[in-house]
Symmetry: C2
């Protein structure tokens, strides 16, 4: 009988050894587990093997065993007297370039014990991915980056365990989802050929590794699953997101967009998956990427404008005095300005409509959104024409990528069943205003679904038994990666999308 | 196509990556190996993964890969540019209680590069197995014993590699065969329950482990195979011996005897195997075990006596002046004394026949075999009545065990096709004289076959492809272990065997 997929524990009652049955402790247990799990392959980690005789005798040979399904069979990670539910915990990790988010899960109940986040300490070595990958080529640079992230995860794990009243040794499984570069640095693998044509990672499917080989300060028998990637620009974070969305299990075709440091898109259903990433061409560089501003207390995340008074209403994160604006707030703002006639279809300020809100600063037309006396920073919060131009390029790039990949599979937007929006961007964006500026297609709002931190959620599913290795492998193997060629057709689409909402107004009937 | 079993190398020609085929290095290689080896499961050790991109590019994607067959599939341990045969070496280890013997093998050619031996450094902690197992229960005692043997293997490996002009990193496979206690200490596993009823080892089948988990200073990706055991008293050294003898592959029934620290016997054929060990009862303790004296330069290994003159002729190891006598010499001597009428059928000295060679020393009749002026030690080399009594108990124990196990499978000695004699004992013994004293059955001499260090040979077979994991598993799984009950029937047999050659002279027609 297969164990309940939500539970990794296997309850084993062994016949104690005798002179007539002197099978060794480990082999006795393995034999029982083979019957229980209907498998030929059971391994016991050496670290557990060393404790096993005392564990079995203390439990009078009636134990709960914690088994972990690997690609090559099962491994017994821990064992404890029957009924004394072991503290066995797992850690799901969203391994972000900027921010690392962790969730500590009780493996038997599936209960979340703690959630925490910390800034990726590699940022002190290199602010962005490329800086880190170049640093990895210097002497001991790779080791430095590897130890930096391992150290960060170890420190945070220790702290989370302390708060949850667990020992780091109680952590027996880690599941990590990150982009290909972050996954490589976490594993200590040289990323040299990822950033040189034809952009080859060391490995697509790192599989499952012993935690001790990576220097992780958890249970010495713990196993680490690193989500596979499709290539240098389509990482395990996306695979985790697809797993969490369920997109690859649906008969209807859906699309998933993740905008983090990069813009990554996947479209498909239970038959096929097509993916692309936004770092493909120079037209997109510094475009989409600048949308993902950090959400933090005091940052404006929602903006509305009274069309009559042209006064802004806004909300900030944590209801703190305003200190900046994040991507979702910026999109809201641009939509309001457009609907209020304060910017034109090219995204240029209309001086007459803006009135005294518009000033020339450093020779650039600049809109004062929040005057200094109302701002937490003591300075005006402003939006310059340069900021607007950048936003328009970003939204045009996004729309063009969506259009290109959807057309590449011979579909129109309205044939998409669900439009999943993942990542920080997806958590805050208002699809209504994003449609207004022509960033995303004009679909009925109910088709949009925000996934939140889908990378963390996907990793978490592997801890609670709602995700299977076979599903991950199937997702990875089914993805066809579309190289975005910045050819004439692409540039034509991009040019048409550089208007608000678009040169072809028929594409956006809901925008009046 | 399966690789040639003598070769672990797989020649791989990869299509280099391109923008249109950007599969990662590792996955590209794994895919090719899966086709080559017709397997679903290929792993690459993390240590190799870190070097892989440079190796592939330096080789222009045409490499020789060193694959290792594990129970759960294959692991790629090393890779090098095609045609540049890698230095990949393996180490076969006979992990003895007293002496550790190593053989360094070039894996691709199967050629032996070096052979070496060292005294087991654990002897400084505990002279015999039991002393060490008790020490393992003291605080940090197990770690001390584990580090002692690992340190010894590391030092010897370094030295052997230096002489063979290899680096320790060139050693990618280790195969060890030792008794259950030595194997446990090598793995750092607590032997506490091996020496308490019902005598349970931690593990019967340790399987294959990464060398780095054991602290071995070889290639970080190296794999370690430890031969499985059948129980606390029937170890992997015997399984290796059975493998080497081929006994388990023959249709005819044969018997194998290994006398080292212990006396272990296996009887069987390609259908079944029955085994027992001589540490089963108090009658045998200090008996059989005292036969295995160390062979060293100057030790008498062969003795003949001129029946007319009653003068001894002997040979010593290395033709050095005599300094002692080892088991085979002792058996020869006893046989000569018996045939010359100098001892009787009870093994007691016949004073008249011995003449002036016999003296009373410490009130015990003692035969001077080599007078001090001819001995290398400056003292007489003697054989006391106590020594003789001990020899007679030993030979009686041996014969009784052989008789018991053979009868237990319903056979008579003359139905045995081959009588394999393994271990130090087997390498030196002269079956003729052993028959004369009634230690082994009176079979035609050509049925006796000395195996030498069968434990080392069996381990070596796993390096040269002449041995398979499946064969080892099959041997282990087919062995029925016979507990030697020291009951009345056993004691009766033992009493009858305490005569030279036996109370029943019909059993030894060749002894006149």
């Amino acid at each position: 009988m297969m164990p309940d997929p939500r539970s990794l524990v296997s309850r084993i009652r062994l016949t104690p050894p005798s002179l007539g049955d002197n099978t060794a402790d480990a082999d006795r247990l393995v034999q029982a587990l083979k019957t229980e799990l209907e498998t030929d392959v059971i391994g016991i980690d050496l670290a557990l093997l060393k404790r096993l005789p005392e564990v079995l005798r203390a439990a009078d040979y009636q134990i709960d065993g914690l088994v972990f399904r690997e690609r090559r069979g099962w491994t017994l990670l821990d064992a404890c007297p029957r009924g004394q539910t072991p503290a066995a915990a797992g850690l799901a990790v969203d391994l972000g370039t900027t921010r690392v988010v962790l969730r500590l899960v009780q493996l038997f109940s599936g209960q979340t014990l703690a959630e925490s986040a910390f800034d990726n300490p590699q940022a002190a070595i290199g602010a962005d991915v490329l800086a880190r990958l170049h640093h990895a080529e210097t002497e001991s640079g790779l080791a430095e980056l590897h130890e930096s992230i391992i150290g960060g995860v170890n420190r945070e794990t220790l702290e989370m365990c302390r708060e949850a009243q667990l020992l780091p040794e109680d952590v027996v499984v880690l599941v990590l989802a990150g982009n290909t570069a972050m996954s490589h640095l976490f594993l200590g693998l040289p990323p040299r050929w990822m950033i040189r044509e034809p952009y080859i990672p060391v490995v697509n499917t790192p599989g499952i590794l012993p935690a001790r080989d990576l220097g992780l300060a958890v249970n010495p028998a713990a196993r680490v699953l690193v989500f596979p990637n499709v290539g240098s620009y389509f990482g395990g974070d996306l695979i985790a997101g697809i797993l969490y969305s369920g997109l690859s299990e649906n008969t209807g075709t859906s699309i998933l967009v993740d905008v983090g440091t990069n813009a990554e898109v996947v479209i498909g259903n239970d038959q096929w998956l097509m993916a692309c990433a936004g770092a493909a061409g120079p037209a997109l560089e510094g475009g989409v990427t600048r949308m993902g501003m950090n959400a933090a207390p005091g940052v404006i995340d929602r903006v509305r404008m009274d069309p009559a008074t042209r006064e802004f209403e806004f909300s900030t994160i944590g209801n703190q005095p305003p200190r900046g604006i994040c991507g979702s707030g910026l999109i809201d703002l641009a939509a309001s300005l457009y609907l209020g006639g304060m910017i034109d279809i090219r995204g240029k300020f209309v001086a007459d409509a803006c009135g005294e809100k518009l000033e020339q600063r450093h020779d650039i037309p600049t809109l004062v959104m929040v005057p200094r006396e109302k701002s937490a920073t003591g300075s005006d919060l402003t939006l310059s024409q340069a900021d607007l131009d950048s936003l328009v390029r970003s939204k045009a790039a996004m729309y063009t990528i969506l259009e290109t990949i959807t057309e590449s599979v011979g579909l129109a937007f309205d044939q998409l069943e669900t439009f999943f929006v993942a990542g920080t961007f997806g958590a805050f964006i208002d699809p209504r205003t994003a449609i207004t500026i022509g960033m995303i297609p004009d679909l009925p709002l109910e088709r949009y679904q925000a996934l939140g931190n889908s990378s963390l959620e996907g990793a978490g599913m592997m801890l609670t038994g709602r995700g299977r290795l076979a599903t991950i492998d199937r997702i990875r193997d089914r993805i066809t990666y579309l190289e975005l060629n910045v050819n004439q057709a692409f540039m034509n689409r991009f040019s048409a999308a550089r208007f608000i909402p678009h040169t072809n107004r028929d594409l956006f009937p809901s925008v009046k």
